[in-house]
């Protein structure tokens, strides 16, 4: 039996969090792997939070923001991208599989996309197996 990965998702309240709500309105189906932490902007997500989630054993971490040009705060998502690109590289350099970390731009109109992203990410994590750090502090 394949395991259900635990995904911690950081979702900006204007786009990705709204997209996740829309997935609900559309009754789109996806696995109950992801749990969202609502933030005002994806730019509020410190790279340390992602590392913290992995250190505590999260199998996957998602940072969801608005598409470029759609940011409610003009350009917060560009700053997110700078940080997450750096973070992906850092994870790889540390020997941690960067595929466990995803940055996705999902708008408030993309309920189906949210469901699809979570489904695909969950399947990928099932192939990768549990977080090797296994929840050590």
């Amino acid at each position: 039996m394949s395991f259900t990965p635990n995904i911690v998702g950081f979702a900006c309240q204007w786009c990705t969090y709204a997209g996740a709500d829309l997935a609900g309105n559309l009754r789109a189906k996806y696995p109950p792997s992801v749990k969202l932490i609502k933030v005002p902007c994806s730019g509020r997500v410190k790279p340390e939070y992602v590392l913290e989630a992995f250190a505590r054993g999260a199998d996957g971490v998602l940072v969801g923001g608005c598409h470029f040009g759609d940011c409610h705060y003009k350009d917060g998502n560009y700053k997110t991208k700078n940080r997450t690109d750096m973070l992906s590289q850092l994870l790889e350099d540390m020997g941690f599989d960067p595929r466990r970390f995803r940055q996705e731009w999902i708008s408030g109109a993309e309920g189906q996309k949210f469901a699809q992203v979570i489904t695909e990410f969950t399947e990928e994590l099932q192939e990768l197996g549990p977080n090797p750090l296994g929840g050590q502090e």
């Binding site: 204007w14 997935a23 609900g24 696995p31 109950p32 749990k35 705060y73 917060g76």
Partner: protein, 669 residues
């Protein structure tokens, strides 16, 4: 120690039908700092809210978590309940177990229940670290701005003005009037469009509370509800509007030509032109892209002198103007001028455009006798290029057979999946008007479906059938260009289950309604968002149809989605009513979920300063050392600075570091 109350909602069967609510409640009872946990069929009902209020009054809880639907709709309701119970409303947190759990994990009730527990635990973790916050109030500028001078914008501006609020009406074209000014008649009453619109245009333009800024575009918007600072670019008209009387003498003499936008390119206008005969204000502009600089009179040049008479040689437009409104010697700035205004609320009513026929390759777009419905509107209008006579563009002959094709680009996965909503009705209107005027015309209309949901609309349609207009259910596969400027229509007739082929003289495409040009840039300036169909997104599809995610910014008309004139006018009046609320109150609340610098921790590195999208951060000297300061009226609470501060000196209230870390801990426990 915190006393957290957890309230788990069944939402009828919406949550309870999938998630084991009792199990989630029992789990919540066992979480640290949870004083009590309750469940209710509908937490948002009066009785549900009363549970929360009573527990607060009884001193049983001092923090509240509701596990229910989404905070995007229900957080204000439960915060209100906390406040009424006597608790600071920011000591509240929501766990989304409906939209993001029961509704999407119906296939896995156990998994959904397990996820709901985690989400509740995360909310409890955050609640443990919540802090009470105080809302502040700021004064409001008692003025509004309406962007777009079509029927929606005019209506909204008039309503605001009648309520006593100073209103700026900003229009990009030289005249207000918008799309409605281009229409001949309006359904379902066949009122002459100009006859009902022009008086409103005049009233708006002359209203003492309305300042109309035509030939102007919004350059920049700063600030927040109650206190927006707007820069408006007044484009260069090259005509002194204070002097221009709208006589049109310049246009008569001007040799420069360009396609007439008002006539949808069916005729040419001059480089110096008045937008249309009923323009308000009736003022001329010179289109420099079409101007040929007669007599070498480029803008800002000295005129040559006639050797015989010694008089300066002027351009025809200058010479023709009896009001001396055109003086090409002046060094006029091609960028126009910037006007700065301050307003408390803004209504966007930027309207729509229709898809051009070039998008539809199978519909013989190269034939001049294939036109859009908006072009037909100009062809049958008394102010149009043919004076209202139906003449086909290729040879100015009267057509005998007319074909209407619906849903061009609408309800089509290759273009737009949405219905453009008013095409069925305007096609029926155009067909009826033409059949009345020319009873011998053969009019064939091809529909996927006929959508006539509106007051007196279906009667209008059945009336059209009785008049002898032919309706075919089924798509038109394509058009072929034939000799004699005719077109062969290849269509399918679903009712008889057969293909049909016939020759037509003029084909009208009811092409899809799309957002106007320039709206992407406008959205970026104002922080507006788009929905899937690329119209502006309203705050809530049912309960907030005129509000947006930006407080103080409202929507009216087709910029929010395709709608006809009655719906646009209704929405514009609604938008005016909500836009007037902050103006009438005189004060607005400032959301306290914004960033603050803990000065003692700030090292003065200045990393945060350039990151702020609103320029809200400045470095100030405190005891001789630089320290970051955040202006509360400019901060919008995105938290970009908070995440970047290497000293963790900036905290974002409502999304504090310890709150988020507790959530991460709860979700990974």
């Amino acid at each position: 120690m915190a006393k957290i109350g957890v309230y788990v909602c069944h939402c009828g069967s919406n949550i309870g039908g999938v998630i084991d609510v009792s199990d989630v409640r029992e789990y919540a009872e066992g979480l640290p700092d949870v004083a009590l946990a309750r469940q209710d069929l509908f937490m948002c009902s009066d009785s549900g809210q009363e549970l929360i209020k009573q527990d607060i009054r009884d001193g049983k809880v001092d923090r509240v978590v509701v596990a229910a639907c989404t905070p995007r709709t229900h957080e204000p309701i439960f915060r209100g309940a906390c406040e009424k119970g006597g608790l600071n409303k920011f000591l509240f947190e929501m766990a989304n177990i409906r939209d993001q759990a029961s509704w999407v994990h119906g296939q896995d009730p156990e998994g959904a229940t397990a996820k709901a527990k985690k989400v509740v635990s995360s909310a409890v973790g955050k609640a443990r670290n919540l802090e009470p916050l105080e809302e502040k109030y700021v004064d409001v500028t008692d003025a509004a701005m309406v962007i777009g001078g079509g029927i929606g914008g005019i209506t909204a501006a008039l309503e605001l003005a009648r309520m006593g609020h100073k209103t700026y009406l900003v229009e990009k074209d030289p005249s207000i009037g918008g799309r409605m000014a281009q229409l001949d008649k309006t359904f379902p009453t066949n009122d002459c469009s100009a006859c009902i619109l022009t008086p409103m245009m005049v009233e708006a333009y002359s209203h003492p509370n309305i300042e109309t800024l035509c030939y102007s575009e919004v350059e920049d918007v700063e600030g927040y509800i109650g206190n927006f600072k707007v820069k408006i670019r007044q484009k260069q008209s090259y005509v002194n509007w204070d002097k221009c009387t709208g006589c049109g003498a310049c246009a008569e003499k001007c040799p420069g030509k360009a396609p007439d936008e008002f006539n949808e390119g069916l005729s040419m206008r001059r480089a110096a032109f008045i937008m249309f005969p009923q323009a308000v204000p009736k003022k001329a502009v010179i289109d420099m892209n079409a101007c040929i600089n007669c007599a070498g009179r480029t803008i800002g040049s000295e005129p040559k002198v006639n050797a015989k008479t010694g008089n300066p040689i002027l351009a025809p437009c200058e010479k023709a103007c009896p009001a001396e409104a055109i003086n090409r010697s002046l060094m006029l700035d091609p960028n126009g001028t910037i006007k700065e205004i301050e307003v408390g609320s803004i209504i966007t009513a930027t309207g729509y455009k229709v898809m051009g026929k070039e998008n539809f390759k199978e519909m013989a777009p190269d034939s001049p006798n294939v036109i859009t419905a908006l072009q037909l509107e100009r062809l049958i209008s008394a102010t149009g290029p043919t004076g209202g006579k139906l003449l086909r563009p290729s040879d100015h002959e009267k057509p005998h057979t007319l074909t209407f094709v619906s849903c061009m680009g609408s309800r089509d996965k290759n273009f737009h999946t949405y219905c453009s909503r008013f095409c069925c009705m305007y096609m029926i209107k155009q067909a009826r008007l033409l059949k009345e005027k020319y009873p011998d015309l053969v009019i064939n209309m091809h529909f996927i479906d006929i959508r006539t949901a509106g007051k007196d609309y279906d009667e209008y349609y059945t009336g059209a059938r009785d008049m002898g207009i032919n309706f075919f259910k089924g798509k038109v596969g394509g058009l072929d260009m034939l000799a004699g400027d005719k077109l062969r229509v290849n269509a399918y007739d679903m009712e008889n289950g057969e293909t049909i082929e016939y020759e037509s003289d003029l084909v009208i495409l009811a092409s899809a309604v799309e957002m106007s040009d320039g709206t992407t840039e406008l959205a970026q300036k104002m922080g507006l968002q788009f929905c899937g169909s690329k119209f502006f997104r309203e705050l809530h599809p049912k309960l907030g149809p005129v509000e947006t995610a930006v407080s103080g910014l409202f929507l009216a008309g087709c910029c929010q989605g395709p709608k006809d004139i009655p719906d646009t006018v209704s929405q514009a009046k609604g938008a005016a009513a909500v836009a007037a609320v902050p103006l009438a109150q005189g004060k607005v609340k400032i959301d306290p979920t914004i960033s603050e610098v803990v000065t003692e921790k700030c090292s003065g590195c200045g990393i945060c300063e350039p990151l702020c999208p609103y320029g809200a951060i400045t470095m100030k000297k405190v005891d001789g050392k630089p320290r970051a300061m955040i202006a509360i009226s400019s901060c919008k609470g995105c938290g970009v600075c908070t995440s970047a501060c290497p000293s963790s000196a900036i905290q974002l209230h409502g999304y504090m570091e310890e709150q988020i870390l507790e959530q991460i801990a709860a979700l990974t426990a």
